[in-house]
Subunit: 301 residues, 2 copies
Amino acid sequence: MDHFADRLAAACRRKGNALCAGFDPRWESLPAEIRRRQAGGSPEAVAAAFAEFCCRALDVVAPLVPLIKPQMAFFEQCGPAGFAALEQLIRKARDLGLFTLLDGKRNDIASTAAAYAAAAFGVWGADALTVNPYLGRDAVEPFLQAARKAGGGVFVLVRTSNPGAGLFQDLRCDGRPLYRHVAEAAAGWSRENVGECGLGDVGAVVGATYPAELAELRQAMPEVPFLVPGFGAQGAGAAETAPAFRPDGTGAVVNSSRGLLFPFRPDEPNWEAAIEKATRAAIASLAAATPMGRLAASPPA
Amino acid sequence: MDHFADRLAAACRRKGNALCAGFDPRWESLPAEIRRRQAGGSPEAVAAAFAEFCCRALDVVAPLVPLIKPQMAFFEQCGPAGFAALEQLIRKARDLGLFTLLDGKRNDIASTAAAYAAAAFGVWGADALTVNPYLGRDAVEPFLQAARKAGGGVFVLVRTSNPGAGLFQDLRCDGRPLYRHVAEAAAGWSRENVGECGLGDVGAVVGATYPAELAELRQAMPEVPFLVPGFGAQGAGAAETAPAFRPDGTGAVVNSSRGLLFPFRPDEPNWEAAIEKATRAAIASLAAATPMGRLAASPPA
């Protein structure tokens, strides 16, 4: 089984980019035609609408991007039916040859963390997942073990993209902000299992909304793959993601959720064309403003 | 609608104790009779076994304890069917008049956190939930808003009970450990909405495995209700939970999961009697060693 980071780098090279399409389905933003078919607003109806929208959007983005990031919260909001929709989305993404990075920010101790990890890799069939580090090494460990057994990866929250991220993450601990301590721990875990591309299987979530920290962290943890949220609707431009990449264009994936999946008004009939246009535009802007363009030996047709 | 903390205190007074029964169903620990009926080990079969076990265990503990804490990870591990089992457990707990504290340690930014909160209070119907504070105030805020709208509560992870909790939580930031900063933030949020009992609707998770920190935090945050894990199978004795309580026996709920739900070998036919015996023993030991005994105006029959 190939190393997680090598598989991800190869997928990015095949598509010629490192754009991650975030699947955050929101009822109020769905195309009106889909909402009409699922009137009533029961959790099951919303889940059915999410499944239809996500699968159709996936058909649009699958030829263009190397990976998707489903946000578990929106599926959880629909109860059991929502998780069935999530299962369907991930299965289809795998069938289409896409990486799936499950964004659940799960965290717990010992055997409980192991249950979450078993869910992510075993039940949902994800390639990677996001985890929250607050509980420490022994709480992250079961996720690492499950990831390594599955040839997958783990992305640890280091510096999140929200406006209030600094409340705890910026606290100075022994002369450095807390997020640097978390980053160093993640780098240590990642060095335990490095692929041929020089990147490990433990990544860091570092928001594009904090470009200075992004540059500092890229330098401090050269072997750590980055997942960069905050690009697009959250406010960061393509240039602000540039420090996340290594000079050859590997080392980072940049996520956009609302900007790619909801670039249309609900009454827009050609919403799939709008998604394709937004996705191509995001790839072009990232390629122009970051080293990501160097991945494009064979850009998408 | 009564304040969350007043409702919880009243529930504890009615049962004469503050023991929380943790529902962490584990396939390998289930009674053999239940596993036999659900042979095959598919996620659906495991979920059906969890539902049967949890509902029968709930019938045993419901007359004895004021609240239960389902651990979402074990249900998530069974996919959509697992969440249906969780839904069934929570509905039954509500019908039996029990508080339900949903342990998911969810965390995310803005509208994503709002989706998790909507799931917890709206779909699952919990009275309270656990949240991870690493992302800061604006990430905790949507949970608070949803809790306040539902008359519910939020328990913020402050000092967790796992052996490696200190890796980040103990880092000294501006002269105090990180967990103290989190505790102060939680106390500030809790003071925004205090009930007649003098306790707020934002609680703190503080492990009984760190009794010195428990005493220090009880003193530092007198208006914050505590959820105390770590009692029982995780190693802390009843006396170590004593500092969590206020002198009148309110102010804390003490959780035990494996110790209450799995005090039997899988081939034990009278496993329900074993659960009842373990629950009564846990209540008696807490009543003897902590101020919790002062709640027992009307102990369980």
